[in-house]
Point group: D2
Amino acid sequence: MPEPARPDGSVSPPLPERMRVARLDAGGRVEVAWMPVPRPGPGEALVRVRACGICSSDLLDWYVAEKARQGPFVFGHEPAGEIVALGPGTTPPPGLRVGSRVFVHHHAPCMGCAACRRGDYVHCPVWRRAGLIPGGMAEYAVVAPQVLQHDTLPLPDDAGWEVGVLVEPVACAVHALRRAAFRPGSRVLVIGAGFMGQVLGLVARAWGAVERAVVDRLPGRLAWAARRWATLVIDVGDGEAGSSAPGTALPGTVPWLRAPAHPAAAEPAGVARVLQERWGEGADLVLVSPAGEEPLRLGIAAARPGGTVVMFAPTAPGRDPAIPGHDVFFREIRLVPTYSAGPDDTRDALALLAAGLIPAAELVTHRYPLEQVATAYRRVKDPDALKVVVEL
Amino acid sequence: MPEPARPDGSVSPPLPERMRVARLDAGGRVEVAWMPVPRPGPGEALVRVRACGICSSDLLDWYVAEKARQGPFVFGHEPAGEIVALGPGTTPPPGLRVGSRVFVHHHAPCMGCAACRRGDYVHCPVWRRAGLIPGGMAEYAVVAPQVLQHDTLPLPDDAGWEVGVLVEPVACAVHALRRAAFRPGSRVLVIGAGFMGQVLGLVARAWGAVERAVVDRLPGRLAWAARRWATLVIDVGDGEAGSSAPGTALPGTVPWLRAPAHPAAAEPAGVARVLQERWGEGADLVLVSPAGEEPLRLGIAAARPGGTVVMFAPTAPGRDPAIPGHDVFFREIRLVPTYSAGPDDTRDALALLAAGLIPAAELVTHRYPLEQVATAYRRVKDPDALKVVVEL
Amino acid sequence: MPEPARPDGSVSPPLPERMRVARLDAGGRVEVAWMPVPRPGPGEALVRVRACGICSSDLLDWYVAEKARQGPFVFGHEPAGEIVALGPGTTPPPGLRVGSRVFVHHHAPCMGCAACRRGDYVHCPVWRRAGLIPGGMAEYAVVAPQVLQHDTLPLPDDAGWEVGVLVEPVACAVHALRRAAFRPGSRVLVIGAGFMGQVLGLVARAWGAVERAVVDRLPGRLAWAARRWATLVIDVGDGEAGSSAPGTALPGTVPWLRAPAHPAAAEPAGVARVLQERWGEGADLVLVSPAGEEPLRLGIAAARPGGTVVMFAPTAPGRDPAIPGHDVFFREIRLVPTYSAGPDDTRDALALLAAGLIPAAELVTHRYPLEQVATAYRRVKDPDALKVVVEL
Amino acid sequence: MPEPARPDGSVSPPLPERMRVARLDAGGRVEVAWMPVPRPGPGEALVRVRACGICSSDLLDWYVAEKARQGPFVFGHEPAGEIVALGPGTTPPPGLRVGSRVFVHHHAPCMGCAACRRGDYVHCPVWRRAGLIPGGMAEYAVVAPQVLQHDTLPLPDDAGWEVGVLVEPVACAVHALRRAAFRPGSRVLVIGAGFMGQVLGLVARAWGAVERAVVDRLPGRLAWAARRWATLVIDVGDGEAGSSAPGTALPGTVPWLRAPAHPAAAEPAGVARVLQERWGEGADLVLVSPAGEEPLRLGIAAARPGGTVVMFAPTAPGRDPAIPGHDVFFREIRLVPTYSAGPDDTRDALALLAAGLIPAAELVTHRYPLEQVATAYRRVKDPDALKVVVEL
């Protein structure tokens, strides 16, 4: 098979026959493997991946088990790289060409069906079909036609790869706020200060949330939030993790509430009580980053009457959370699950990153070369890790 | 105590000393009792109640038990009547005077607090404080100042009492559609064809829902819906209730789907399957009229991806419904509980009734004089009853 | 050139070489002419047009002059017909095949650009490029690929051609209400009771506008509105057109206001005064159907403070209307121009027609065979004409 | 007349008999005059004004002429001060008492009428009736009951008087963005970089506008915008005002476009061309700060198809701007006039100021004691002036 030519007739650099990828084997173990470099077909493009983030969803037990049942697979859906070849007859959209540094989404919609006309891109029937082959954690990946046309975005010249890597997760936060009918001027509570919690808080700040509280049990994460976006820290940990923040205020002006100084922080219903005391009422919008019944119920309790709770992560199949039906009815608490992000969200996300409103370089706390991907994968669970990136 | 004078100096008809009311006693039994006629204080008005509807929430076990624990109480929150006196210094709002035939809400907000500024009237702190004394099922009731100022509405001259009686329940349906961001042109599914289900369907039709499906197990109710508003009937009953509708189409054009002709109607997930087959996808908006986990899960299954499910009735305290967390996440199904109705909703409701878009006279299927209130109360559970009204 | 084959291998009926079309010549005169039957190219389809409506925009002096300057052209953008052939390699969207009876839009967007992602389909750069060749008033027309994929809709089996012909104009009304953030329950004023005014009123009624006033000077048009959708008629004519409606109420309940009985109907600012008197304030939404400064200013005056005025027709190039800047500022009157309709609007329009909420058969007041197209064209200006359709 | 007592029985400091005020005389001249200190009646409060901003609307010829016709009047509607007395029977809202440092609005709605239920507070019939007596430029002013209850806000302890002075103008910008359905992530153009233009730009930035262009002819104002909020500067001046910015980029990253380097900046239609070149299309939202036809037409030309133009200032009575009707129709440009601000807007404004998102201290460029009010009044027209404040 001859190498695909560039549209302008020039020849792209010869592609190698084989490439390295990171795979999950049937036991859920991470390994580096060799695979043939895929060739782009009609309408497709080939990207030389330069960096790929590890998403915590890659670590979900039920997700990994489900995928691994189908055999070893290449994971990774947060890649950034360079277009190195176009398939026969491929016309890239305006602004893209061989050589472009790009963010590539791992899914894209058809743009023409009923779901797409409503803006419900993630529910387009072709959404999950379209994607990256074999995956983001590969030196080369084929970009499906829909993805190339509708959700491959050129990176600004002065943007590092970490900007490209963060477009997808930031877009998920954008999607969440949009679906929740976020309003500038509102008061937001983020539950869980892991990577996605931090991104949700940063987007809420950039979009004009005037008060932004955060709940977590790890002082390091809370401190990061307080430095970057939070206006109120509620520390529900037991303190054994070595907090340097003794239940009072951070240097600066962010109040840090923690038992025993603030006993409410030790109670199940305490977060709601703290917001009542500080804000006069619960949060307009609660963004529940971790999956599960417990954080969801915490979020419901902390929302003001008429408020909204975003369910940002899926519960495992069959592990159905019980919600306080009586309470959500009489206080009219909306539950808004939000999954993934569409081509409108990725563009907003890239704009936030390009404007510096999301500090990409600081969100990426760890970088590893591909051969250390297993270490990288383990690192994600560290309390001090935000985004862990594998460089290829 | 002298009788209050009308503002124009004329004297209102002398009020009796005592009046009849309908009460629930500590055992949840309905009885007619005598009470003193209350006198309106400053800012208040006195209404001679002419009719009062029985709401199915008056029959909820947990609600009745909770209220009865506090001693016998006068129930009823759907009254219509005539203003017969004003308290000292009371200035009624424009359009109201002694002699006005009115709808009176049983709650009203202050209009000035943070919740009111957001339009979340039902969450105003004074909402439940304000009300009717002693209740709607009384020959006379005192109207609190907020209610008089903000949610007492004059009835059109040609409107019967049934119009006044229906304002509150129709307003609850208006509130539900508004909170659910209802869009004209959308496809709606109503679960449960009792009185409130019918009203939800009628409002959806009046506001431009182009497709309107209904699910129930009672043929009589389904037939009423098919005649009045439904465009698709899904009969999930076992047929023993004496259906005259044999699994095919009603006279006219409304398809009537029922097992065994349509086996899906006999399956738990069948409603979703029927909508998929008929509409190409689930409902944009599902209005779940009955309380409980089962109808809620049915509604979630029947919503299209990205759709909305309205939880229109409260579950009992402590009976928390488990929701399919995995499914609602990946299909992004919004849950929107809606409770009661505010002064904006009642005005829209009265406009719908006055325009004949809600056929009040047909929704009131039974009328009883006060002395038969116990019979009336039992009648609400009859399959053929929609609104049961007590005339005073 | 061989005839295109059907995808299933069957042969479509042989196409004639030549066809008849209706053209505007350089002098703006309507004539019947012969042209070759066009052949569909890749991605395209060929439609045998069965009926095409005449839009009043086809009669606008400036529009006709502008088009005619480019030579004779085939007008008509409201066709309905049957797919008779597909171009080589054309895959029609689900639900369409050779033989399908269809509505065909004359423009369609790419669905993938920034304007399309926002739902601003009519501003997609390919919008006007895509279309019908040579036009709607032709026995055969080629449907461009985007139009075939995104805005060609199958007609219900029981729908006559008039349903297909009306999809486009009804969609323009849907578009207007959507862009104006129309709210069910609102009060609407329609200025001008020509065909488009009637359609605007009908859509407003179907979508839940509780009060619907109409202004015109022709009694016949007003009477049609009163029978079909208007709840208040304001007759600003001089009566010489032979009104049978003597300044009072129609049989039924629609009040008919007219000078001298209602002097306001004779004044420039009278409409605003009538609404104030009847509704207590101006209209929430004013839909101004005719072009020009005078109806626009009438609409502005008749809107309530904070209300919206839709500008539904374009003024001629260079004929810039002066708006009352002081008044629109202090009363905060929004001006919302709305042009054409997108693929979301046409689907809503077809649903309204299919549900009988827009009475297609009655809106089409005149039908002519193609050889009488010149008469048909003149007929549009008759006071008693609503939609004039040419049958091919 | 005895001094009003504090509700807690303590005695407020004795009030003087007379006070100084700033007045406009019949010739539109500013003068300092003596008046009796007004006494608060039932429901009212008395405020010792400490600072009051001069609004450029106080300088509008037609406005001053209209007011002056009624005799000399005390101007000023941007006061901040301290509550020093309550009228008999006055119960201030929670959080306010004698001694509170407050922002006081000059208008407030009833909160209970149809306009208020819609959130159209500025169109409440009592809106303009309620106010400050005699005005904001007085050492003491009586606060009307509605204003005290609904739009008098306590200032944070650490906020200077300039924060209180700026609440009203910032609220007007909040109101404008809210009415224009501002969306985080959008691209905004501000026309006119005077004080209100700067505030509009600052609020747009705080609420998440990712691109923010500004047009003016005064380099000093443009430089202020570039330092604080603008991401693109379009300098349409002739340069004679002594620009230090030579048609290139500011220190930092804000591009500064100006003729002759960017010839478009010298053309009437140039701003639209610049945005097209830089952003790929016009602005989502154009905020037109100055009154008049010319800036309005500039704004219309610079909006993208489907975009919105806010008319932020009134034209003079009878000076009706002609709008390009053909263009606004085919490009569907919404015109949204926005006047003043309601109690929801002032709370959002104060939150923005308290959070430091609007840098109050820098927006107040000039402060004068009351005796120099005539100088202050003249200073407003200086190119280097943003907000001029009079201290009392």
